[in-house]
């Protein structure tokens, strides 16, 4: 058994917080390498992958290439009952656009390591939607490089953690080009004894003038034994940029509770509605009926 060091924070902080990185035990010797896949935009507008894995440990690589001016939407859903690592690379050329939609609805005691690396050329755009509803643990590690001027990235993440699930996320956006834009929206709910960590880094490199980066996180804490860690980092070596971060963590506030109570909805139902509301929001962004059905099926078990 070896150990993978994943989800590294680009700028370390106090070790006692246990947020600088994650050590993930992984049996490399007994990992089944699943066939690599390459998706090229232009030849198709939409691709779907359903990944279940093989054996105790399995690993898969997917390459998504968007030549200049082309667009593609890729749907990926993870249904493994074991340990699965999926590495997705995105190469998005000038004026191209890639939408990547991922759903984790895995079995109890499973584990998914979901790594994404993306390169964005001039005027290119990457849109990422990730929904984590599974019963197993999820480790998510995303790095996007906005290399070209006016390139952009938008990320929407929704999750519901329950039982003793671990949701461990790291998202890094490097702004290299001028007039680049990034937006990260993360929202979810934690129940029972679920543990979640979100590290979000917006890094304005020298030369990325007139760029904007925004990050927003909302965490609804619903269980007596939940644990939430949030590390929103902004790194900046360029003068003329704007970086913002906001986070709210806690229960439903009194105003919201009053609103529901005035409509005859009790606290438990109100919490359930709000926990699902963020996932419903993402369904609206995805705009895909078959994926929405999969999400609804999974929500039915939550």
């Amino acid at each position: 058994m070896t150990e993978m060091t994943i989800n590294k924070l680009p700028s370390k902080t106090w070790y006692w917080l246990h947020v600088n990185e994650t050590k993930l035990p992984w049996d490399k010797e007994h990992t089944t390498e699943l066939p690599e896949e390459t998706v090229t935009a232009g030849s198709t507008e939409e691709v779907r992958f359903s990944i279940t894995g093989e054996g105790r440990y399995s690993s898969k690589k997917i390459h998504i290439i968007a030549p200049a001016g082309k667009q593609v939407t890729v749907f990926m859903d993870y249904q493994t009952e074991e340990k699965l690592a999926v590495r997705t690379s995105l190469s998005v050329e000038e004026h191209a656009r890639v939408r990547l939609v991922q759903l984790q609805h895995t079995a109890e005691n499973s584990l998914v390591y979901n790594q994404i690396e993306g390169e964005c050329a001039k005027n290119a755009r990457i849109e990422l939607v990730q929904i984590y509803l599974g019963k197993g643990d999820i480790y998510s590690d995303t790095t996007i490089n906005l290399n070209g001027d006016a390139s952009s990235f938008r990320s929407d993440i929704g999750y519901i953690g329950q039982h003793t699930h671990i949701i461990d996320m790291n998202e890094v956006v490097n702004h290299f080009g001028k007039h680049t834009e990034s937006e990260i929206n993360v929202g979810g709910a934690l129940r029972d004894g679920a543990k979640k960590i979100f590290r979000g880094t917006i890094d304005f490199k020298t030369g990325s003038s007139d760029s904007v980066g925004n990050e927003l996180e909302n965490v609804l804490m619903l269980g007596d034994d939940v644990e939430n860690k949030t590390v929103p980092v902004i790194l900046c070596s360029e003068e003329n940029v704007v970086g913002n971060h906001g986070a709210t963590i806690g229960e439903l506030d009194e105003d919201t509770m009053f609103y529901f109570a005035s409509r005859g909805i009790d606290k438990e139902h109100a919490e359930n509605i709000m926990a699902r509301a963020n996932i419903d929001r993402l369904k609206g962004i995805i705009k895909d009926d078959s994926f929405a059905r999969m999400i609804d099926e999974e929500l039915g078990e939550v």
């Binding site: 700028s11 370390k12 902080t13 106090w14 917080l17 947020v19 600088n20 934690l190 304005f204 020298t206 003038s209 965490v219 804490m221 619903l222 269980g223 007596d224 034994d225 939940v226 644990e227 939430n228 860690k229 949030t230 590390v231 929103p232 980092v233 902004i234 790194l235 900046c236 070596s237 360029e238 003068e239 003329n240 940029v241 704007v242 970086g243 913002n244 971060h245 906001g246 986070a247 709210t248 963590i249 806690g250 229960e251 506030d253």
Partner: protein, 468 residues
């Protein structure tokens, strides 16, 4: 062509005047058990303190240098003298302080401030205090304000033994261990139950010796229902070799007590400022930190508050100004360890001329801290692209029954705000100057007026250039 608004460096002429070194004693450079034993002997430590120093040295030698934060590669402990005793014993009257040392503190305005607005003053020169005095009416209330050495050996020896490095232990980090081994000087304050000290006490730390370290220890106990405002100032002239400051501040705020701890840090730009500050706050108590960080080559300073009693409160207000050759890593830490506790951090940082400013924070809400609230707001202003500004906050929340909020913003001077002010008749230069000076208002508003004026003088603006 429009030129950028120019923010002047801090005027350091007062602080940079060096006195001729007339040390009564200077420990040889380096850090060995023999040196620590010699230091302990020179200071006439009780046996437990000598043992504590040696144990701390062992911990120091076993701990790694942190691999995060600003680089401290330029700091070589083999070339730091850990103890330099000035040619004066501690005096209770300025007229008894040697002329050259007195002149230094006169230039810094300490005796004048004492006369006008302070309840007591401690003045440390290199490793020892040269002056300590408290006003009679404050002493008559039972307030104890004395140097640490006197407290360690006198009637408060048991109290010092009970509290000394119990909040910041030598195991905390490498430079806390170093402090435990070679500490010298600093102040001891005890405010009895129910006593309100209406005007502040101040300790001022001056490091004149080249290639030396200053390791003062400040221990303050504010007993139940009492209140105090304590001000700490520090400065040093600039040398071409590294100096080190690894002080330690331990604050004990008892039930329903209140302590405000204000710091204007203005060390020279060859200083490694690796200071540790921590407060323990009991039920209904309040700790307020006001912190201005302007000096040092490298600074790592994150005052920590442990809210251990129900309803305890913490507020941190800070400003950091990092100019050429400076890497200032500042912020705060809070642990909510009891129900219904609250914390608020409000910081501003300015980076210019290649300066690096980092805001670093942690908010921990323990499982039992139900009903607790925390809010963090940090804003950073970048004045050029040679500089750097980072924010690295972290939150660890372990109860659902807490409300935690965080907001951070990094940017340059807003063109919209400049336009708004210009539409009301201001010139562009004046508008930009106003916006930058107003940026640090959060701290200056919290300081006593004479310190606020000094701080505003430190951040001067000069606008130049044509518009177009």
């Amino acid at each position: 062509m429009r030129e950028k608004s120019q923010v002047e460096d801090i005027d350091r002429s007062i602080y940079d005047i060096r006195d001729e070194e007339k040390d009564a004693y200077r420990m040889k450079e380096g850090l060995t058990p023999q040196i620590v034993e010699q230091l302990s002997k020179e200071k006439g430590d009780p046996a437990w303190m000598q043992q504590f120093r040696l144990e701390s040295l062992q911990i120091y030698n076993e701990m790694p240098v942190p691999d995060w934060g600003p680089s401290i590669e330029g700091l070589d402990m083999d070339h730091i003298a850990t103890y330099v005793r000035p040619h004066s014993k501690m005096q209770a009257s300025w007229k008894d302080v040697p002329e050259d040392i007195k002149e230094t503190f006169e230039r810094l305005g300490i005796p004048q401030a004492e006369r006008k607005s302070l309840a007591g003053v401690g003045a440390q020169y290199d490793s020892e205090l040269v002056y300590h005095n408290v006003k009679d009416e404050v002493a008559a209330q039972g307030v104890v304000y004395t140097d640490m050495e006197s407290a360690l050996k006198g009637e408060y020896a048991d109290m010092v033994h009970k509290y000394f490095m119990k909040l910041v232990t030598p195991h905390d980090h490498k430079f806390a261990a170093l402090h435990g081994a070679v500490w010298s000087g600093g102040s001891f304050v005890y405010v009895p139950k129910g006593v309100h000290v209406s005007i502040p006490l101040q300790s001022y730390f001056r490091l004149n010796a080249k290639g030396a370290g200053q390791f003062e220890h400040t221990l303050i106990i504010v007993d139940e229902g009492a209140s105090l405002h304590f001000i700490e100032g520090c400065s040093a002239p600039k040398y071409n070799v590294a100096n080190l400051h690894a002080g330690c501040v331990e604050l004990f705020v008892k039930k329903n007590a209140k302590l405000r701890y204000s710091t204007i840090e203005n060390w020279s730009k060859n200083m490694y400022n690796l200071n540790t500050k921590r407060a323990s706050v009991e039920e209904g108590g309040t700790i307020e930190w006001v912190s201005g960080s302007f000096g040092s080559h490298v600074g790592c300073l994150y005052p920590m508050s442990v809210l251990k009693g129900e309803g305890a409160k913490m507020e941190f207000t800070g400003v950091t100004f990092a100019g050429h050759g400076q890497n200032l890593d500042t912020g705060a830490k809070v642990v909510h360890a009891a129900p219904n506790t609250s914390s608020y951090m409000n910081t501003r940082s300015i980076s210019k001329d290649g300066g690096i400013s980092t805001f670093r924070s942690s908010v921990v809400v323990a499982k039992n801290a139900k009903g607790s609230k925390s809010a963090v707001s940090c804003q950073s202003l970048m004045l050029d692209s040679e500089s750097r500004s980072d924010t690295i906050p972290a939150m660890d929340i372990r109860t659902k029954d807490a409300a935690v909020g965080h907001e951070a913003k990094i940017g340059s001077i807003s063109d919209d705000a400049v336009f708004y002010l210009m539409s009301r008749g201001m010139t562009e230069e004046d508008a930009r100057a106003l916006l930058v000076s107003g940026f640090a208002d959060n701290v200056s508003k919290e300081l006593p007026v004479e310190y606020a004026v000094e701080m505003n003088n430190l951040i001067r603006l000069e606008m130049k250039g044509s518009i177009g």
